[in-house]
């Protein structure tokens, strides 16, 4: 319940509604993301569907669209949008990929339902009109379209609600809109913000549905309106018409689901209406059956049901118990987690493999968000071991306040003392460091004479600064630039943690500067300039394995010895090289880690 309380607290604060990343701006962005693809898809799919339905052609296309449409995951649509926008058309990453994805998403329900709507216009009506000498054009305009319009509006409603409910996936590719609250809240483990985002998306979907109702009332002829809902059902029934008695009810519901919620793999708020109509139709179908069941002395399904209940409850409990133990991962397995950037994944693989080599059961879980995700997961016992950085880990453990400490050993000692209370221990730290840096393109640096971070104060206009969602609230990142450097002209743009989205945004000029890390290969590859940290904002960030005390208790001090050997061997040059292998050459962290361990004689 707590997340809901936090969500309402978030929504109740007027400060969260205004500003460049407030609710109002996000709602506008959401509409900007949703409306154009919906309109474009309507322009393409409705005429195509109507014509196909009129000429009764395209059954095969319709079936193919429906089948393939159902099998495409929404994430895959985003992938196609990304490839099209970034790789083929060069339109950037933050807007168009989502628009393309939503366009593809809306095509299917619009086409299938328009087609079905026109195709299912009463044959007698069509024949009569033909007999009276109507040509194709008149038939379409005066008979088929008006009769089919309620169902077409249902299609629009379904597509619109689906688009609004799916637009949040854009947040995975640096898009704006309400999805930002969900993804950022998720990434920062701020459940209040996340739930607030979900509530707002649901509200927006409902508002969309109502708005289309209003438009429908203005457009659809009055005589047809009353039967609009029943029409969806009659469509289902007609399609089920030829089937025998046994399959009828089922086919009815299934077909209605196919037409009303075609993109069934991507749940959205759309299915309610047809669900309702289907239910009504079903209860009508059921009524005689039920009466019959009451009237005859047929055995009620009661006793049978009780037996089945008992049995299925048992098997259900067994299944739940089974999965629970399967998910628990057993007591002795060491679960190594990593954050969602290459270096963390490589380090997790290195730690994991070195333990595995010593005969310990290891499970490696890569790409689990930011520290805001992994560190609490470590405290809770979801994870047993994560690669960390002394300074940031210390700040996080103390609650993200700043510290005056700038000496490597002092920061390490402070970290060890801080995490003791959570039953966590740290291995020895490595001499290798990876520090948050503020990178700009060489052109930006030269054009505005940027050498140090303080120079940004003289940047003309707003300096758009991109970073992972967590960067905004971190003293080592955006928060520090505002509070320590006092850069009031800086605006935060949520991207990813020094990943490809950041690089893409920086190169496309969608941000002026971005949070990158000193061991990242992309800095050298793209010839970026890392601005000097002239106010010593950054703490030392030596790489250090942090693990649960349980692990040492279970597997002995040997675990720490193994990890310490890794820390001692690791250098910054190694890290830059390993990162490049993963980031540039697209090699798997697992393979890169194995090779490094072998080269350093740490396994085998």
């Amino acid at each position: 319940v707590e997340p809901f309380v936090d969500a309402f607290r978030f929504l109740a604060d007027p400060g969260n509604w205004t500003g460049s990343r407030g609710v109002l701006v996000r709602v506008i962005e959401h509409v900007q993301l949703s409306l154009p693809p919906l309109l474009a898809a309507m322009l393409v799919a409705i005429p195509a569907g109507v014509l196909a339905g009129h000429f009764r052609r395209g059954q095969a296309i319709g079936t193919a669209v429906a089948n393939v449409g159902r099998a495409i995951p929404t994430l895959a649509l985003l992938v196609f949008g990304l490839i099209l926008s970034v790789r083929v058309l060069g339109l950037g990453i933050s807007y168009w990929p989502t628009v393309f994805a939503l366009f593809f998403l809306a095509l299917h329900p619009l086409f299938t339902n328009s087609y079905t709507a026109v195709r299912n216009v009463d044959r007698a009506l069509v024949e009569a009109a033909r007999g009276m000498g109507y040509d194709d054009r008149q038939l379409l305009r005066q008979i088929e379209l008006p009769v089919a319009s309620p169902v077409i509006f249902t299609a629009i409603r379904i597509a619109a609600v689906q688009v609004v409910a799916t637009a949040p996936i854009g947040a995975l590719a640096a898009g704006g809109g309400l999805g930002r609250f969900v993804i950022d809240g998720f990434g920062a483990r701020n459940y209040g913000v996340m739930y607030a985002g979900i509530i707002l998306i649901a509200l927006l979907a409902v508002v969309t549905e109502r708005l289309i109702d209003v438009v429908e009332r203005l457009v659809v002829p009055e005589g047809l309106r009353a039967v609009a809902e029943d029409d969806v059902v009659s469509v289902c029934q007609q399609r089920a018409g030829g089937l025998n008695e046994v399959a009828r009810g089922a086919e009815l519901a299934r077909r209605s689901m196919d037409t009303s919620h075609p993109s069934s793999h991507s749940p959205g708020v759309g299915s309610r209406r047809c669900l309702r109509s289907t239910l009504r139709a079903r209860s009508e179908v059921d009524e005689p059956t039920r009466r019959e069941a009451r009237d005859t002395d047929r055995p009620s399904p009661r006793n049978l049901s009780m037996r089945v209940i008992r049995r299925s409850t048992l098997s259900l409990l067994a299944a739940v118990a089974l999965t629970a133990t399967a998910c628990g991962g057993g007591g002795d397995t060491v679960t190594v987690g990593s954050n969602d950037f290459a270096e963390s994944r490589i380090l997790a693989q290195i730690y994991g493999q070195v333990l595995e080599d010593a005969g310990i059961d290891v499970e490696i879980r890569e790409n689990i968000g930011s520290r805001e995700n992994t560190f609490p997961a470590l405290v809770d016992g979801e994870l047993d071991l994560v690669p960390e950085y002394t300074g940031n880990a210390f700040l996080f453990a103390t609650g993200e306040g700043d510290t005056d400490l700038r000496d490597e050993q002092e920061v390490y000692d402070a970290l060890v003392a801080e995490i003791e209370g959570d039953d966590l221990v740290a291995g020895e730290m490595s001499p290798a460091q990876d520090v948050d840096g503020l990178a700009v393109t060489r052109e930006t640096a030269q054009e505005h004479g940027l050498e140090t971070i303080s120079d940004i104060a003289d940047f003309p206009g707003t300096f758009r600064f991109g970073g992972g969602p967590e960067c905004e609230e971190r003293i080592s990142c955006f928060l520090g630039y505002q509070e320590v450097y006092g850069l009031d002209n800086m605006e935060f743009v949520s991207l990813d943690s020094g990943g490809p989205i950041t690089v893409e945004a920086l190169n496309a000029g969608e941000v002026d500067g971005a949070n990158l890390f000193t061991t990242q290969s992309v800095v050298g590859v793209n010839d970026y300039v890392l601005l000097e940290d002239d106010q010593q904002l950054q703490l030392p960030q030596n790489i250090v394995p942090v693990l649960r005390q349980d692990v040492v208790d279970t597997h002995g001090e040997e675990v720490l010895a193994l990890l310490d050997a890794v820390s001692a061997a690791l250098t910054e040059e190694d890290l830059i090289d390993l990162n490049a292998q993963v980031e540039v050459e697209q090699r798997e962290p697992r393979d890169v880690a194995t090779e490094w361990l072998e080269a350093n004689g740490l396994v085998g």
Partner: protein, 229 residues
Amino acid sequence: VSTTVASLLPLAQTGVPAGEWISNNLDSITRRGVEHLQLTGISIGIGLLVSVAFAVVALRYRWAYRPITVATGVVFTIPSIALFPILRPYFGLTATTAVIGLTLYTLLFLFRNIMVGIEGVPPDVVEAAEGQGYARNRLFLEVQLPLALPVIIAGVRIATVTTIGLVTITGLIGYGGFGFFIFDGLRSNLYVPKLLVGALAPMVLALVADALLLLLERALTPWSRRSAA
């Protein structure tokens, strides 16, 4: 066509060629595929058990039918990108979160089709069986269930195809099956081979699963084949 596609894809592409990446990483791709199948299978399995339990309750207590339908329908209206985050505060970054979320999405199809299937068995068939002295259990197992089976399997088909697509979203919490490669590709300089494996493999999987279940449906209902021919 393949040459045009091939000439488009390497645009602004860094990293090894697609073929090389795939052959170098066949075992991780296989691992993710197995994960994909496991998550799908477990979720459909639990979903079936829960739906059968719901169906039994709804057959026993008529008033429960509507609340269950509404509840399973409402669950289905939650956008998938939000569902796993919603469950996260309660179940953490675990397979439990993934399986619960996926299972919830299957209930609408499975419950509805089980109900429709069993209730769709014509009363005269049931009466005829009773007249021949079928006891309740035998009636259920040998008459009602087989006759309801095509409808139930139709539900399983829709649920399976849906679930295979949704598994990709569990990449948000560190699973994802093939979808892991989508999240990975998003973080790897939009490396196209990863993105495409993540996007296309689940589609192929879904179409294959759909076809296999269709075959299963035919095999289990020989009478429908005869009547069709």
